[in-house]
């Protein structure tokens, strides 16, 4: 048997009160794409941080080609041949591509020379990138290329990728996979962390599955179904979201020709956005991050004001109204960023429940907070949405991402909205919690509410939504029914401007046909 590239033996790491990794052992062979699977908090990040020298394990050891390997700092890991592409990009927006690459290297050549190297590698691996552009101006896919090229220039033997595809369009994912397969062909190994089981089945030949810090299985993901893998991760059988027959009612939310300037330099302005959602319907809005999702949510929630007639709820114009007026009309929102936007990190769950629930749940009386009612409301949310927390007095910051997400979505749903707008409701949430949130959204629509689901997770959009439209550079495409929509068509809708127009035109035609059909039917 050949010596593996990296062998991990009995690795254990504990934090106060939490066992992040418990006696984890596995090996990564040369020229292998190895998947690391697990729910949030299963210990994947801790494990890769140990491999990359960012933390030191409490027990256990690692062997690199048979020799002991214990990096004390990332530069030692890099010197050995380990490189890492981070989940949240470790880039500097105000600096250009070449400088960003230089910062990730231990002995960078002069910038001029480096720029030439970058151009060379970017053509070799099919990752187009201009070394002189400011990173703040790049798309998410281009930013990831900066990270990958930064790693490749160091000629790594092991490349660690943490959730690399969460921000990419299907076409960009395909480019990435070609690059990764090319790297494997050169004999390099890749440790690939992802939630997306279909990707892992398409790309990896070995998978290590972690649950609550411990290794639960090693398998060949190509021989397992996505469902089997998910169940190994979660430890229980998964309930796929279900929805009984649907009935569509009147238009509850109507947006017409909404134009809005972005509030910050790195934001995206909304251009002529129109949409309408009926009672009982879920409208899915896809798009790569940074194409106007945050701005759209802010415009709908009332954080950003627009022309008064541009947004109507049940026929009532609300464009210039603040969030509380909109809440009174039944329009509720749950933004993407959990800590700091959807919830105040240092306030208790009761206080956070009060922040958006005060009006509809009548938690304030005569100008004073009714703490008993606020607490009861928070407890109701906790119980109904299975939020794992000692109680409503715990600070929002103390909850895990998935639990807090269940709480902030639950808080809006429990207020019986007539229109609910959610942005990235299952971002960074484990499979079981994600399924619960999706089910809750479908139940809400079932009960006669209109739901706008903004998400970057295409699988989620295609399972949950009734109609799909894409947000690209602040423009919203015409909606298309999800039934019968192929992944390729979706990709075209999300992708570049040229493709976009074709897709939008076809969509508009389809829509026009459907509409005229409907008119004929009515006539």
């Amino acid at each position: 048997m050949t010596t593996p590239l990296l062998a991990i033996e009995g690795l254990t790491k504990t934090y106060p009160g939490v066992i992040a990794n418990q006696d984890v052992s596995f090996t990564i062979g040369e020229g292998e794409i190895h998947a690391l699977l697990g729910e949030n908090g299963a210990g994947k990040s801790t494990l890769v941080k140990a491999i990359y020298g960012l933390i030191r394990p409490d027990a256990g050891r690692m062997l690199w080609r048979g020799a002991p390997y214990a990096p004390a700092a990332p530069h030692e890991a890099r010197a050995t041949g380990v490189a890492m592409v981070f989940q949240h990009f470790s880039l500097f927006e105000a600096m250009d591509v070449a400088e960003n690459v230089a910062l990730g290297m231990d002995n960078p050549p002069p910038i001029r020379q480096l720029a030439a190297n970058i151009a060379q590698v970017s053509t070799d691996y099919g990752l187009p990138l201009d070394p002189h552009r400011l990173v703040g101006d790049l798309s998410a896919g281009e930013r990831q290329r900066v990270e990958i090229i930064r790693c490749l220039l160091q000629n790594p033997q092991l490349l660690i990728m943490d959730e690399p595809t969460s921000v990419l369009t299907p076409q960009e994912v395909e480019i990435l996979f070609q690059t990764l397969r090319k790297l494997r062909g050169e004999g390099r190994s890749i440790l690939y962390i992802s939630h997306k089981l279909d990707e892992i089945r398409a790309l990896c030949e070995t998978a290590t599955i972690l649950r609550r810090g411990a290794l639960v299985a090693s398998c060949d993901p190509r021989e397992k179904s996505a469902r089997e893998l998910a169940e190994m991760m979660v430890g229980t059988a998964l309930q796929p979201p279900e929805r009984a027959g649907r009935t569509e009612g009147e238009v509850l939310l109507q947006v017409t020709g909404l134009n809005l300037r972005a509030p910050s330099a790195f934001g995206t302005s909304l251009k002529d956005v129109s949409l309408s959602v009926r009672a009982g319907e879920i409208l899915g809005i896809g798009g790569v991050a940074g194409n106007g999702q945050d701005e759209l949510l802010a415009a709908l929630s009332g954080e950003m004001r627009s022309a008064h007639q541009a947004i109507t709820v049940k026929g009532e114009p609300v464009g210039r109204s603040g969030p509380n007026t909109r809440r009174a009309l039944g329009l509720l929102c749950a933004p993407e960023e959990r800590l700091g936007h959807a919830a105040a990190p240092d306030m208790s769950l009761t206080e956070n429940a009060l922040l958006t629930g005060a009006w509809r749940e009548k938690l304030v009386r005569g100008g004073f907070v009714d703490w008993a009612r606020a607490r009861a409301f928070a407890e109701k949310v906790i119980q109904r949405f299975d939020v794992r927390t000692p109680g409503p007095d715990v600070a929002a910051r103390a909850l895990s991402g998935g639990n807090l997400q269940k709480f902030v979505i639950g808080r809006e749903i429990m207020q019986r909205p007539q229109v609910l707008v959610v942005n990235q409701p299952t971002w960074g949430v484990d499979a079981a919690a994600a399924a619960a949130i999706r089910q809750a959204l479908m139940d809400l629509a079932q009960g006669g509410a209109a739901v706008v689901l903004i998400s970057q997770d295409l699988d989620e959009l295609l399972t949950v939504a009734d109609r799909f439209c894409a947000l690209n550079a602040g423009r919203l495409s015409a909606p298309r029914p999800v039934a019968g929509l192929s992944m390729e068509q979706v990709g075209l809708m999300l992708g570049g401007a040229g493709d976009m127009e074709v897709a939008a035109d076809t969509a508009a035609e389809t829509l026009a046909q459907t509409r005229s059909g409907a008119v004929h039917a009515e006539a």
Partner: protein, 314 residues
Amino acid sequence: MMGTMDLSSINPVVLAAALMVAATPILLAAIGELVVEKAGVLNLGVEGMMITGAITGFAFAVSTGNPYLGMLAAVAGGAGLALIFALLTQYLMANQVATGLALTLFGLGFSALLGQGYSGVSPPRTPRMDFGWLGDIPVLGPILFRHDPLVYVSLIIVAGVWWFLRYSRAGRILRAVGENHDAAHALGYRVRAVRVAAIAFGGACGGLGGAYLSLIRVPQWTEGMTAGAGWIALALVVFASWRPWRALLGAYLFGGIVTLQLTLQAAGWRIPVEYLAMAPYLVTIVVLVVISSGRARRTLSAPGSLGRPFHAAG
């Protein structure tokens, strides 16, 4: 009635030469603070570090009889006070704004205590540089080539900082730490170490600026003699949008206003001096308003992590 005003008594050459001297203390303090802020730290204690440098420099120069030893002591004094700030904000995670303000108050009080025996004492003279025939060039000679060494040192520091931030690897790391400390940490850079070094450099420059006041510009020790120079320096960093050469330009501009104000007063012009004294701050407020519009933020290159506390995770 207005007094008689005699503008002809103002000599532009003397004015220009005085401008460089008036600008040097705030330039030194500002270039130090610029480096601190480029590393992502907001130290509002510039005034305190300047006044501490002023008294330590003065006391050492008087007791040793050597102004240059005094300046070295001022560098150490300013840096020492800054390291207290570094300890509090980088290791004990104290709030930067509150700590900076406390540092100013502490510096003012501490320097008054140290300086009790030094009022009315004259410090040893700092000789002017002799550039030979260069000093005899008409107009340019008196303006540029007849100053004390510290004026030229301040210019060298500005050029050095510019080169360091723009071309050196260490400067790039410092900017990276200031731009996004989490990313810098993830790449394995020692965020705290970089910041502590930057804070110490800022303190050293502030202290040197203070010593320039007490040893050369005035030259004497009076309590609270910095009289807001540290705040002007802070304003200057924003005005310069974190660029060294613009800081130089700004310092000479502000120095010019101060000199002009004095000269106009001497010439009998009866415009209240307060208006001119306000000018640097008004300019800074305008710049701040422009910056906070957000859209201009990037073009003005405010460091992304400025003033945000850094907690190392994992």
